[in-house]
Amino acid sequence: MTTLLQQIANGLVLGATIGLIAVGYTMVYGIIQLINFAHGEVFMVGAFGGLAVWRFVLPEGMKEDWYVALPLMLVGGVVVSVTIAMLMERFAYRPLRNAPRLAPLITALGVSIALQEAVRIWFPDADRSQSFPRVFINTQVKIGPVEIPATGLLLIATAILLGLLVQLYVNKTRMGRAMRATSQDRDTARLMGVNPDRVIVLTFVIGAALAGIAGVMYGMHVQTLGVRAGFQTGIFAFTAAVLGGIGSLPGAVIGAFIIGLVERLGGQYLPGGTAYAYVWVFVVLILVLVFRPQGLFGESEKVRA
């Protein structure tokens, strides 16, 4: 029983990370129907940005004060990931907006590989796994029989909070309305005075900011970081976005928690153990796509070509 609860707690923490990334996937897909394969890399780059701030920017005396280090690292991670996402949108995706559907997908793969390699080559020592500092309070919080690190709780809280904020932003503000309009019909939105280019860039920026935050906090939680971290987590996040119904923000976050639980509980209880945990996520993905392609919270399927 304790194991079960503990694994549920671990699953929720993983789910929170995935959820923060999945929001970016689902928003970008909702607006320009692009699977931004490189979004996982944005998460990884954000984590490295946070690490760089800790290593090269923070003076020795402040590295231990979490109320200084944490915000600065988050800002560093967000700045790096947002910059990368904007460059990526401008140079890799925008020129291809009217190209055949396969073209931007392949560009996204290219961006993903190039980003991984760029970090591996140019970030000091990044060809090996890096240890990531835990600047936030280094204690285990006990809830009943379950122990969660404080960073884990912070991740869950952040994911839910930011998820709600983005949801509010998209539904209540003027720019959010422009986003929804662009996702429904870009040309009509343009006629109504919306600048789709700006909306699309903003979408990338919001997604990247969340991914950057997720990167720094996840790094802090697991205390290790490698350049391959983005790919797998990115695929998980995409799975979550599809599971929740792509284009739906609450769906993405809830889907992410489900994926996190599947990964942890599958690794614990299904045959094969943790070595196959990864496989179960993909099995869930295939089943969802085959039997409910619109996802749990998605609108019923229009023609997706």
Binding site: P95, I106, L109, F231, I286, L289, F291, V303
Partner: protein, 587 residues
């Protein structure tokens, strides 16, 4: 490119081209480096003063000289497609100069190495770059017009005379191609490690080869050759196979290059298989290499290797057929979600499948894959007592080990090409293309889209399984990490780089993507970075690929290479297809 041609007024085109050609000639004769580089001269005559040894030009400077002469001749000879040819030569010369200059610059430690230092001058590379730029601008100013169309029967020849001429041209061209391939493989040393300058020499050679091919394309030669080989298809296939079989007898006939060429052949065959799924049917498959992997593991388990837990030993042909059948069935199963999901979602399903395969193989599922230990010591394919990994003596020439695999794989590639070509022109092939263009319309036209898509997966997977079975025996080991996501992406990149739906494209793409890493070992650290950037740039500037299929070319460009509007070409294609049907037998 119209932006380039508007830079220079048309009247200046010819003088500028002449200047560019002369600059290239001069560049070839100037010294290129002020001193000998640490690892010896790059290449051997890099610091040569022309007047010391006027006829000793070799390597890339010889190519620059030839480019200069050719450009000078083309500038003053009336020739259709002159602008394109000059521009191509200019780009070729520019590429050679930039690569060599960059290399000498970085190895020689700064600008001094290619300008003047310690009383020695070496402006060769700079003059070469200037010449290349002048040629590109001059050629563009002369005009990038239509690619000229050569008559099908030159000099009014008919009957046997025409046929003999066509055969002669085909033989000469294919032999030239063989020479080019052999030279490309051996440029900069035969094993890639012996020569410290192998990388840049090879790149410069590649620049030369691409320049020559582009110039030939510009004057309409390659298109004429294509139409010739299409009209004499049987003959050209025979010559092509003979040329491929002749490769071991050239300079490239070393054990190292035979091994590499065999591996490239395997990937080329797999890329053609992927081309069925992606290029013809338009179904993006991101887990394709898993099929190859399953084929390899099936063959490995039936090979009687000690590492296999099954303990079954079957002769290779039977094992290969079993592997192909099993993989085909799995392909149909993996393809079945295509009935419900489309486009990007299908890509994700296949990616998920690929990852499930890779992870299961890594964990030694059912004791079938050996996990991290792999299944090793797979015996080589053997006929009688002769193992395929042994050297043989043929026609009085001693051929290196691995050459038998090379022959086998050449046959495999030929087989896969034949399957692909026939499928493409069949009723099913046209159905696939229709689905690729618009699934709903295809369905409305009475195509059973579900069946057709599953069949595409089945055919593609079978071909991959066959290739995997051969690969397992060739390598002697079947390991999960040879069939990872990156391999899938590389194969996909090969198909797209070459041009979707086109056979020469897939072969060319696979060769490039798998030869370049062999050749550029010193850049190994940057290989994947370049690969990722190349994917972005290709999609940005040439999404139709290097050798595009003519239908796809029209689709991507909105017009054809001749600049005809797309509607006109489509009409022409329709007419051609109608004519094709009765000729092609049952079709």
């Amino acid at each position: 490119m119209s932006r380039l041609s508007s830079l220079v007024p048309a009247a200046l085109g010819r003088p500028l081209s002449a200047v560019g050609s002369v600059l290239l000639l001069v560049a070839a004769m100037l010294p290129w480096a002020t001193f000998l580089l640490n690892d010896g001269a790059y290449p051997d005559k890099a610091t040569l003063q022309f007047f010391d040894a006027p006829f000793a030009l070799t390597g890339y400077r010889w190519h620059v000289l030839l480019f200069g002469v050719a450009a000078l001749v083309i500038t003053f000879v009336p020739l259709p497609g002159k602008g394109r040819a000059l521009r191509a030569l200019g780009f070729g010369g520019l590429a050679i100069s930039v690569i060599s200059a960059g290399f000498i610059l970085s190895e020689g430690g700064g600008l001094g190495a290619i300008t003047a230092a310690d009383g020695a001058t070496a402006f060769g590379s700079i003059v070469g770059i200037l010449g290349g730029v002048a040629l590109v601008l001059g050629g563009s100013a002369i005009g990038i017009g239509d690619i000229p169309h050569w008559p099908d029967s030159p000099f009014g020849l008919t009957g046997w005379a025409q046929r003999l001429l066509a055969w002669a041209v085909l033989i000469v061209s294919f032999v030239a191609l063989l020479w080019l391939v052999s030279e490309t493989l051996t440029a900069g040393g035969t094993s890639g490690v012996s020569n410290p300058y192998a990388g840049p020499i090879f790149l410069a050679f590649l620049g030369m080869a691409v320049g020559v091919l582009a110039a030939l394309h510009g004057i309409g030669f390659t298109r004429w050759l294509t139409s010739l080989s299409e009209r004499h298809r049987a003959f050209s296939i025979i010559v092509l196979v003979l040329c491929a079989a002749a490769l071991p007898f050239t300079d490239a006939g070393t054990q190292y290059w035979m091994t590499v060429a065999g591996t490239i052949g395997i990937y080329a065959a797999t890329a053609i298989g992927l081309n069925v799924v992606v290029g013809l049917a338009g179904l993006l498959d991101l887990g394709y290499v898993a099929f190859m992997g399953i084929g390899a593991f099936v063959a490995a388990n039936l090979s009687g290797s000690a590492a296999s837990k099954l303990g079954i030993t079957l002769p290779f042909p039977i094992a290969a057929v079993i592997a192909a059948v099993i993989v085909g069935i799995i392909g149909a199963i993996v393809g079945s979600p295509t009935l419900r999901v489309r486009g990007d979602y299908l890509a994700i399903v296949t990616l998920a499948f690929g990852e499930i395969f890779s992870k299961s193989a890594q964990n030694n599922i059912g004791d079938l894959t050996g996990g991290a230990n792999a299944i090793s010591n797979i015996p080589p394919i053997a006929v009688g007592d002769l193992g395929f990994n042994e050297p043989i003596t043929l026609l009085g020439t001693k051929l290196p080990p691995g050459v038998l695999y090379y022959f086998l794989i050449t046959l495999l590639v030929g087989l896969v090409m034949a399957v692909f070509a026939n499928l493409k022109n069949s009723r099913m092939g046209r159905a696939w293309i229709a689905i690729r263009e618009d699934e709903d319309v295809a369905r409305a036209m009475g195509i059973k889209t579900g069946q057709a898509k599953i069949l595409a997966f089945l055919v593609g997977a079978t071909l991959a399984g066959l290739a995997g079975a051969v690969f397992a025996h060739k390598l002697g080991t079947a390991s999960y990490d040879a069939y990872s996501f990156l391999q899938s992406v590389t194969l996909l990149a090969a198909v797209i780089l070459g041009g979707m739906g086109s056979i020469p494209g897939a072969v060319l793409g696979a060769s490039l993507l798998f030869v370049l890493p062999e050749k550029l070992r010193e850049f190994d650290n940057y290989r994947l970075l370049f690969f990722g950037l190349a994917l972005i740039l290709i999609m940005r500037f040439r999404p139709q690929g290097m050798v595009p299929d003519r239908i796809r070319r029209a689709e991507f460009a909105g017009e054809t290479a001749e600049g005809k509007p797309i509607e006109e070409v489509q009409e022409q294609l329709v007419v051609e297809h109608e004519l094709d049907v009765p000729k092609g037998g049952k079709a």
